[in-house]
Each structure stands twice: as structure tokens, then as C-alpha cells.
Symmetry: C2
Subunit: 184 residues, 2 copies
Amino acid sequence: MQNGLRLKEAYVLRLSHRPSRDKRVTTHVALVARAFGAKGVFIEGEDTHLIDSIKKATEVWGGSSYFKVETISDGKSLVSQWRNKGGITIHLTMYGINVCEKIKELSSFEVPLLIIVGSEKVDSWYYHNVDFNLAIGNQPHSEIAALAIFLDRLYKGLELHYIFEDSKLRVIPQEAGKKVVKNG
Amino acid sequence: MQNGLRLKEAYVLRLSHRPSRDKRVTTHVALVARAFGAKGVFIEGEDTHLIDSIKKATEVWGGSSYFKVETISDGKSLVSQWRNKGGITIHLTMYGINVCEKIKELSSFEVPLLIIVGSEKVDSWYYHNVDFNLAIGNQPHSEIAALAIFLDRLYKGLELHYIFEDSKLRVIPQEAGKKVVKNG
């Protein structure tokens, strides 16, 4: 994540990943995390195949020098540790406070943010043990969409202009068709 | 979609849906379409179970009076018909022109928009037979995220404040925990 823009440090925690059920959705979560400027993703569960595929995407499209992707066994421990170290934890949920009301406050923090996205059902512990429960609209939709909009608000749209300078491939935007070139 | 805000008419076309592989991702696409202000979604493929579950969500959370959800057999025919009737077609792809460069032009159109999102591989026909190929960043990520950001740009963030007045349930935003009330 380069070209002179310095990003607030944000990581993503994906809860309750089950390989058979969640493979594609969790892949989308991880790819959005990387493409929208986060520094890494923690996946609660076991899935070496998924980790490998995200790492491969990062090697090809850039970010492998800093983007962390790893599985963890217990999301609650990570949240507690994050807060104990002074970081801020944000759970994205349709039941929370509208993101618009809090984004200014969040933008003022200089500590690492942990953005938590659940799967179908999130343990109530999270609602009471994070710093913020925030809604990307109070409607049912998608943790992938919620994460994308949250990072877009946090980074004010700049994330769509970042250049991953360590990428092997680079897209040259086209009105029609595809053009991809090798870097270097 | 009420509370006094009038939205530009936009529909979503989801290409190449296969029930076993795409169930969850296409569900997210459809829920994002509804929650972010689109008027309906066309799903290329067959999946009555998926259609039923989206209709059920619309009955509970609102929008059933206008939100169209249906399967179609051929996305190309829909695109051709849309253009023949004077509508505008927009394919979201990482190979396209950055959305920021075109959103002002798109916002000026007074005709219905059809926003096309693919699955893993999109037939090259679409790249050459739509009005716009637009990228939500030229990085690989997610058609769900791409759709959400596109609608957010089109509706300037207002979509997160819409009230679905025909909903049976309504979320009361909370700092912690969940509060849902019945309407009426």
C-alpha cells in the first residue's frame, strides 16, 4: 500500500469461519480487507487452503510485504488482547449505531483498529465487549459489503487509488476489454 | 424505499448463478441490492429457494411493494433489451475505468440503470456490449463489495438512511446488544 498515502492501521477479524460453508464469503472478506487498505485479516477457524489462496493473491497483486493473513482459534481472546494493548475494536452489525455518527471519532484514533465481522450468528459476548457496535445501515445485507463501506468511510475513498508497488501484475483500466501488464 | 428521498432507478443483474456454488454470494448480492436502494435484482440461472428467501427478507424488512427479484435464462438478452429501451448498462469489473471518473456522468442520466455483476468468469461479450465497464478499484476483491460501493457512490451515502416503511420489523440502533421492534 504505497504511493505516498499513509493509512490508519486497521485489521479485520472474521468470526466463525467454517471451510465448507464459508469458503467463498470469507475469501471475499479477506480480498476486500487487502484491496480496501487494511493491514491484515485474522480468520477464526482452520483453513490452510484459504490462507494459501489469499497469500497467493497478495503475491501476485501486491501487499505481501505487510498484509498479514492468519487463522486463530479464539476471536474473543484476540479482542481482549487488542483492547488490553490499547487498540480499538469495532464490531460491524445491523443492530449497531449508524457508522456516519461515529466515523469522525474513529478517524481521530491513532491506535490500531480491529474491525470484526461475523458470520450468520455472532455470540452476544461481542456486542458487550467491543468498543463500538456500528451499523452500515440497520438492514440485513452482507458482512462483505459492510466491511467495504466501513473501510471506504475510514479512508475517505482514497483506498480506491492506492498502488500496490510490489505487485507482479497491474491492470491498465480499459473502456472495454481487459489489459493486464507485468510489473518491472 | 421511502422517507421523502427519491432514488434514481437502478436494477442489478447477477450473472451465471449456480445454486450449489453461489447460494450465499448471490444472496449477499440480492440483499445488498435491496438495502442499498436498488429496485430489484435479476439472477441468471435457476434457484427458486434463493428467490423465496429474498422475497421473505423483503416482506419482513420492507420493500416488497417495489423490489423485484426474479431469475432469467439469458443475461445477454436482458442487456440488449435494456439498451434497446434506452436504459444504461454498467458492468462492474476490476479491468474497467475507475468509478470516480464516471459517477458524475452516470448521475446525470434519467433512465433506468442496469448494474451487472459477474461470478468468477464473465463472458467477454459483456465487456463489449455494455455502456460502461467500471472498476471499484483495479484490484481483485468481491462483486458484493463492488455493488455496495457503486450504489453508495450513486446515492451519495443517503441509502444508509432510508426507512422501509412497509417493514414488519425495525431495528432500533444500540450502542450494545440488539433491539428490534414490530411496526404498526
